[in-house]
């Protein structure tokens, strides 16, 4: 049982009671909602004749269903229009702050909350979305929940939960050139497996982690859930505090001083006890690409797709399924695999630093004729910043389509979808069967820089050949 880790401290701080069944009732400091997983929760509140207990502790935006080509209302898709209208109505009725399209602050919920300064160290954060683990990058304890739990947070600001175990993932050294946070987290998931994190919170630590920017840290924590860990976090440090400073909702003046004092006291003790510790050398990580149908099925750019015999017994069943679905032969190189669609965006890699890195690769180059490439900024703020820096123009000049903010083809709930068995090079987080909108569509996950390289060559490429 872990002791004195940041996770233990934040958990204890937020514990309201021990419930009769033995689980803990945990207070949720910040609740984020969006249009997809909240309507039924509001409906249930109505059925139970309950009100939102602390409307100030919930913040809403719209991201999953928004079109990225034309966001004028009403949306062409009447179901999508109905969902945004329902969210508008619910927020108005329950006095919940809603960052709508055109507010300047709309975007993917996990991009928006950090950039507004809503996400802060030491908080518990819940949202009806599995990538809520993103916010752990700030030293908060953040996790995804389902709609009935959204209902309970709205009604009580608390949840019944069983305490998670804590696994520290210590990353030594630093990433080499052309290797990014996405490559590191794909390697961690590959090493530990997609279900190793079940029942655990992941604490990412070590020089390689603290050497990362806040946005890179968000990429790491974002994908904790792909390793099975509902929650992933990083102890806050000076980078965390300076990222938050002066953000719209950050504490100001004397409140900032108070906040800073408290935040600085918040970290795992040096002699804290973990349920498990894993170490890896970040300098050994190479640009990484998934070849299969789970985010754990990845290899370095110069490696071959593993042979069935080389895989542990428990991985063989899914590997067989993956070869067939992806039409890959065991032993085949992943490099030079032709791609049809290139997507840069998502809560994993749709932030300004992701777009900057990709723009660096794209500058002065053209997207291959055989590729449809599009970039979707993670938020209106990211889009504005990109425009100010001329990044949108670099994308457009290269042949990328430049879109409006949203989740887009990460999960393809909007019109952005693969067609047939197209192969996509994607900076998103899931390569599940059918994930990107076509039941036979194939997804290769990689860093935004690698997606840019694939777009130029029309095939999976080593981005290091572009940046020297």
């Amino acid at each position: 049982m872990s002791q004195d880790t940041l996770f233990d401290k934040v958990w204890d701080l937020h514990k309201v009671s021990s419930l009769p069944g033995g689980s803990d009732q945990i207070f949720i400091g910040l609740h984020l909602i969006h249009e997809v997983t909240s309507p039924q929760a509001f409906g249930a509140l109505k059925d139970k004749k309950l009100k939102v207990k602390f409307p100030d502790r919930t913040v809403a935006t719209v991201d999953h269903i928004v079109p990225t080509d034309n966001q004028s209302r009403p949306f062409k898709d009447t179901l999508a229009e109905q969902m945004i209208e329902t969210l508008e109505k619910n927020c108005l009725e329950h006095k919940i702050k809603f960052f709508n399209i055109g507010s300047g602050n709309q975007g993917i919920v996990h991009v928006v909350a950090p950039e507004l300064g809503l996400t802060q160290p030491g908080m518990t954060i819940a949202c009806g979305d599995s990538h809520t683990s993103t916010h752990g990058a700030f030293g908060s304890i953040a996790f995804g929940i389902g709609t009935s739990q959204v209902r309970d947070v709205l009604a009580t600001q608390t949840l019944p939960m069983n305490k998670l175990k804590v696994r520290q993932i210590w990353c030594d050294n630093k990433l080499s050139k052309g290797v990014y946070a996405k490559d590191l987290v794909l390697n961690i998931i590959n090493k530990l497996g997609v279900k190793a994190g079940v029942g655990f919170a992941y604490e990412f630590a070590g020089p390689a982690i603290h050497g990362l920017s806040m946005e890179e840290r968000m990429t790491i924590c974002n994908m904790s859930i792909e390793g099975g860990a509902r929650c992933g976090y990083i102890n806050p440090d000076e980078k965390t505090f300076s990222y938050i400073k002066n953000k719209l909702c950050a504490p100001k003046n004397e409140n900032w001083d108070k906040a800073l004092r408290w935040w600085k006291s918040l970290k795992s003790d040096e002699n804290s006890i973990y349920d498990d510790v894993i170490k890896l050398d970040a300098s050994k990580v190479e640009p990484t690409v998934t070849w299969g149908i789970t985010p754990g099925q990845s290899i370095s750019i110069n490696e071959q797709i593993p042979l069935l015999d080389d895989l542990p017994p428990n991985d063989k069943l899914v590997a067989k399924e993956a070869y067939e679905y992806m039409s890959f032969k065991p032993g085949q190189l992943i490099k030079d695999t032709p791609v049809d669609v290139c997507f840069i965006g998502s809560c994993t890699n749709g932030r300004i630093s992701d777009l900057r890195v990709a723009a660096k690769v794209l500058r002065g180059k053209k997207v291959s004729k055989n590729v449809k490439a599009f970039a979707v900024p993670g938020s209106e703020k990211v889009a504005t910043e990109a425009k100010q820096e001329g990044i949108d123009q670099i994308f457009k000049d290269s042949g990328f389509q430049w879109r409006e903010p949203g989740c887009s083809m990460c999960l393809a709930m909007n019109p952005d979808k693969l067609i047939g068995n197209q192969v996509s090079a994607s900076s998103s987080n899931r390569n599940f069967k059918g994930r990107q909108g076509s039941p036979s569509g194939r997804t290769l996950l990689m860093s935004p820089a690698m997606v840019a390289a694939a777009a130029i060559n029309g095939k999976v490429s080593d981005v290091r050949e572009f940046i020297n």
Binding site: H14, L19, P20, G21, G22, S23, Q25, F27, V36, T37, P39, Q40, G43, K53, D56, V59, T86, K97, Q120, G122, M123, G128, D129, T132, F143, G144, I145, G146, T147, S148, Q149, R151, D152, A155, T156, T158, P160, V194, K195, V198, G199, R230, C249, P251, N255, K258, A259, T294, N314, V318, L411, A412, M413, R430, F432, K433, G434, R435, G437, P439
Partner: protein, 207 residues
Amino acid sequence: MKSEFTPPIGKISNMNGQCISLIGNDIDTDRIIPARFLKCVNFDSLGESVFEDDRKTLKGKHPFDLEENKNASILVVNSNFGCGSSREHAPQALMRWGIKAIIGESFADIFYSNCIAIGIPCFTLPKKSIEEIQNYCDNQFLFLEIDLKNSLAKSKDSNFNLEIKESSRKMFLTGEWDATSTLLDNKNLIENKFNQLPYIKFNTNFL
């Protein structure tokens, strides 16, 4: 589709039903209910779309399409079932199709919490026992009587000692899986906690 859907309510202690086996590790919630079906403001119509894409691919041979499984209510799965997206639409779709309990090697955390929150007990059994049940289901009907109080599943000729988190077992037996009112019983404690949290104090300009 089956007879009209009635959601579970109150105490849950016994479930009897036919097993339906679904083989595969890491079956994610996108597969259980593809994202396009999430464009809805209620869960009512999800049952018919459960595993839609997998079923289409298998052209009638998916376990959820087989005539002999149409009355099944206990789903038997392998490891890391329900990984990926937190969409409660996944267990809601399974429940509306007719699933009342799931037995598997292991479950993803968020999927498991969602199942509890809507009244679907999830039990685990060792890989060997799961495979035994799945093999049996391939050839003949398997009916199980699940006794949650004793964490036991009985068939005509075997007994299985099911595992379930103690807190979950208690929640089903007392009806507290439907958590809202239990949580609200601690109204004062919630208020106290709110007033004690450091960041509530220094975030006075919080929106």
